[in-house]
Amino acid sequence: MIRAALFVCLFLQGQATEAPRAPEVVELLRSGLDDETRNNLDEAITAFRKAADLAPSDAVVFFKLGEAYMKKRDYVSAISPLKRAAELSPDSLPVDQLLGFALLAAGYASDAIPHLEKVQAFDALGIAQLQVGRPGEAVANLQKALEKTPNDPDLLYYLSRASGALSSQSVDKLLSAFPNTARGHQALGQNYFAAKMYAEAANEYQRALALRPDLPGLRLELGQIYAASSVWENAEKEFREESRSQPGSAEAAYRLGDALLQEGKMKEAAEELQRSDQLLPNMPETLYELGKATAVSDPADAERALGRVVELEKDTFLAGQAYLALAAIHRKQGKTSQAAHDMEEYRQIHSVISHLPE
């Protein structure tokens, strides 16, 4: 809205060379502006409306009336005067901007888009495009908006929604156009997985693998399905295959290490997790699992790995877990004061994260 007000000034300046106004219209405009400044929006609207009756071809008057409605958050009422202003002044960017905002706020996203495109209001444009089912364009425009304000939570929220919608749209297209391809089965498998239908998901991945056994990532995802359903032996097999075909994949090594850990194969798990750490250093999850895998066989290694987790994570849930694991190691070593310190750190983190909304 602040940006809109700036445009209003520019708009008024731009209109200064137009035909002179009748004195009573000028008086009503001044009165309306005074009321608007004092936030007496109903009085301002009355004054601007009277001015509009007296000067039905004055774009400025209609713009001010629409703007007063916008300030009052009466977006539906703002649309009509702003549309009239746009008819009278078709090249005015401030009018297009405000009309675009009004239409979007009132739910007319598709009508808002041409006006927002004209003024390149990427934030509102991206939101409007998301609402009319054009997530691809929405993602592009929201990313442009985020370049200017990278930490805007609203924009980040809409970008995540737009990305999800884009992904879903792509999957729908893939499934309808190419249902019997490897990618089609993979996409369907992902849908089943999201619905916790693990047997069906695994079945789709098996079909995908039958068609394209060399497709990178398929076995990784299939392994994750087995992991989610606690069939660790199968998960290990798939992660191992993925690691074999993708020896540079830190994630495949991490997943394999995790599966081995769940199976109690600590030595092998530690080897894979160390390999993952070498491929992609400083991943807290990898280091935490490495700490678990080596806690009994090599407590010094475990301490190092868990120490790196708390350095990287500071006060997250994972850091709390790492302190718990460190405390267990230190207790076992008889280092009671260190264990007490670990538990104190755990409690501090826990007291913070337990107050966060879930």
Binding site: K196, M197, Q262, E263, Q321, L324, A327, R331, K332, M343
Partner: protein, 550 residues
């Protein structure tokens, strides 16, 4: 020694080839079926209202109530829940369908229903049944029965003539609210059994809720306020004093379901572990002065290995790796492995579910009653768990899960657990489990309960390996010898009937001896008297009376 026994022995020594190991593990360990003469059905009365109590019962006890040397069985029933339920909220426990039941074992292995003649038919109309604890609280040589309920709990004194008397009012142990597992212990070593009662949560017909988005189901415990547990001190005159507050037990509120006792730090005083559902677990360290300090977090047993709060349900507090220290094994809900807390000594524990292979056995299943017993008599205690999900419609939430699950047997291979064929793949909504040698053949059996179904007897097929079963008879200590630390050929058991879920085990202490034909026994009684017996012949039941001095 049979080929199977030889294989078992070699396996326990780590000397068995892979093929032979597969052969051995393909055999089932139990004959599974109903108890002959038992027509009890655990009636939990599931309703569309998804009242939490209806998915939680019920307990079973193995006890020799008439001292004839044969184990008898006591079952706790749920009650009738109407749909809808109107005040006054009663459960029709006067109807024989909803009675608790006591079955006396006959010499031929059949059972006779003696509920009515024993005076146990009246469970109390306002009581929805949960669990059972057994102990000789008045040291008269006859086992007494304590029944926990949603409502008021009931203490039945064993009159010694085959009948029981409801002494709840006199004893002052009715509690109230929602009690779950309970157990007798002598926390102050005064030679009289005290009583510990877990309480689940503050639920009532007024604050009941239905959870679930599209499909209604039972609410998680976090939807209801937590509750305190109760400790009753035995005054020795047939009455108990509620010392929950004075002892520090009531200082902690949780969602208690399971309870187990052991002296984990060897200070001579029995400690208490409470398995809480989706809350930090509680370890009440006995300070020896009538007070307890809850120390689960600092001892490493409050949270699972990944830092989450376990959905603790059943628990056992015994030594699985034969290092002489009691460890904790806890059953819980799926997608989190069953928990093993290894006792590292000096009062601290570490999670070992991955190293022991125990975690690998769970994952998709939900566990309730649990026993750590030497099923194959090889000298290592094995794990038996009854399973089944809390939600009777869990399949609609997660197609990989099942409401009914078969029970689990995992053999202990020198501290590593390996799944074995139990003898039944029939899925049930398993809940309670009690362990004991039902047919006195030296091989441990189990009796389990399932919601809406008849109980099952898991009768051990047996073998030729050796065993020894010890019945303690305390003199200065409590007569049941609860709290004694008994070591036989290096293995240790902590004398108790408490553990599992809502259930009470045979109080006799069973030891598998492998190929050993004699045993050396060392008993550390709660009175601190140390008693040693050497060269005791294997394959017998032996009663050991507490000596006058060490």
């Amino acid at each position: 020694m049979t080929r199977r026994d030889l294989l078992r022995l070699l396996l326990s020594l780590g000397l068995l080839p892979h093929e032979a190991k597969a052969e051995l593990e393909s055999e089932s360990f139990f004959h599974v079926g109903p108890l002959k003469g038992v027509n009890f059905v655990l009636r939990n009365s599931p309703t569309s209202q998804k009242r939490l109590i209806e998915t939680m019962p019920g307990g079973v006890a193995l006890l020799d109530y008439n001292n004839d040397g044969l184990l008898d069985v006591f079952f706790v029933n749920g009650g009738l829940l109407r749909d809808p339920m109107r005040s006054p909220f009663t459960f029709d426990r006067h109807d024989p369908l909803y009675w608790n039941r006591l079955y006396r074992q006959n010499r031929d292995g059949t059972f006779t229903d003696v509920t009515e003649e024993a005076g146990l038919a009246n469970a109390g109309d306002a009581n929805y049944g949960m669990g059972v604890a057994v102990g000789d609280y008045d040291n008269d040589g006859f086992s007494d029965i304590y029944v926990t309920n949603f409502g008021k709990n009931v203490l039945y004194h064993n009159n010694g003539d085959g009948t029981f008397t409801d002494v709840t009012a006199k004893a002052g142990v009715a509690a109230g609210g929602w009690s779950a597992s309970a157990g007798f212990l002598d926390f102050d070593n005064d030679g009289r059994l005290d009583l510990f009662v877990t309480r689940y949560l503050d639920w009532s017909f007024q604050n009941t809720k239905i959870c679930g988005a599209e499909t209604a189901t039972y609410c998680p415990p976090s939807e209801f306020p937590p509750a305190t547990n109760i400790l009753y001190r035995n005054r020795g005159n047939g009455t108990f004093e509620d010392v929950s507050v004075a002892s520090g037990i009531a200082a902690k509120k949780g969602h208690g379901l399971g309870v187990a006792f052991a002296d984990y730090d060897g200070d001579g005083f029995v400690d208490i572990f409470v398995a809480n559902d989706a809350t930090e677990q509680f370890l009440f360290h006995n300070n020896g002065k009538g007070t307890f300090t809850e120390c689960a977090l600092d001892s490493g047993v409050a949270l699972s290995e990944n830092g989450k709060k376990p959905s603790g349900m059943g628990v056992v507090f015994q030594d699985y790796d034969n290092d002489g220290l009691p460890d904790l094994l806890i059953t819980q809900l799926p997608h989190e492995p069953y928990v093993v807390f290894h006792n590292d000594g000096k009062g601290s524990f570490s999670a070992q579910e991955l190293e022991t292979g125990f975690g690998l056995l769970s994952g998709k299943v939900s566990g309730w009653g649990i026993g750590l017993e030497d099923i194959d008599n090889d000298g290592w205690k094995d794990v038996f768990i009854v399973q089944g999900h809390v939600f009777d419609n869990v399949e609609t939430y997660d197609s990989s899960l099942r409401y009914k699950e078969p029970p689990l047997l995992a053999l202990n291979r020198r501290g590593h657990f390996v799944k074995a064929r139990i003898g039944s793949e029939v899925p049930v909504a398993g809940r309670g489990a009690a362990f004991g040698d039902v047919n006195n053949d030296g091989w441990l059996d189990a009796v389990t309960t399932s919601l809406g179904e008849r109980p099952q007897l898991f009768l051990n097929r047996g073998g030729k390996l050796h065993w020894l079963t010890i019945m303690l008879r305390g003199k200065r200590s409590n007569r049941d010898g609860f709290g004694a630390r008994v070591q036989v050929n290096g293995q240790v058991r902590f004398a108790t009937a408490t553990g599992s879920y809502l259930s009470s085990n045979d109080k006799r202490l069973h030891f598998g001896l492998g190929s050993a034909q004699t045993a050396d026994i060392e008993i550390q009684w709660p009175s601190r008297i140390r008693q040693v017996l050497r060269g005791i012949k294997a394959d017998q039941f032996i009663e050991i009376e507490e000596s006058e001095r060490s």
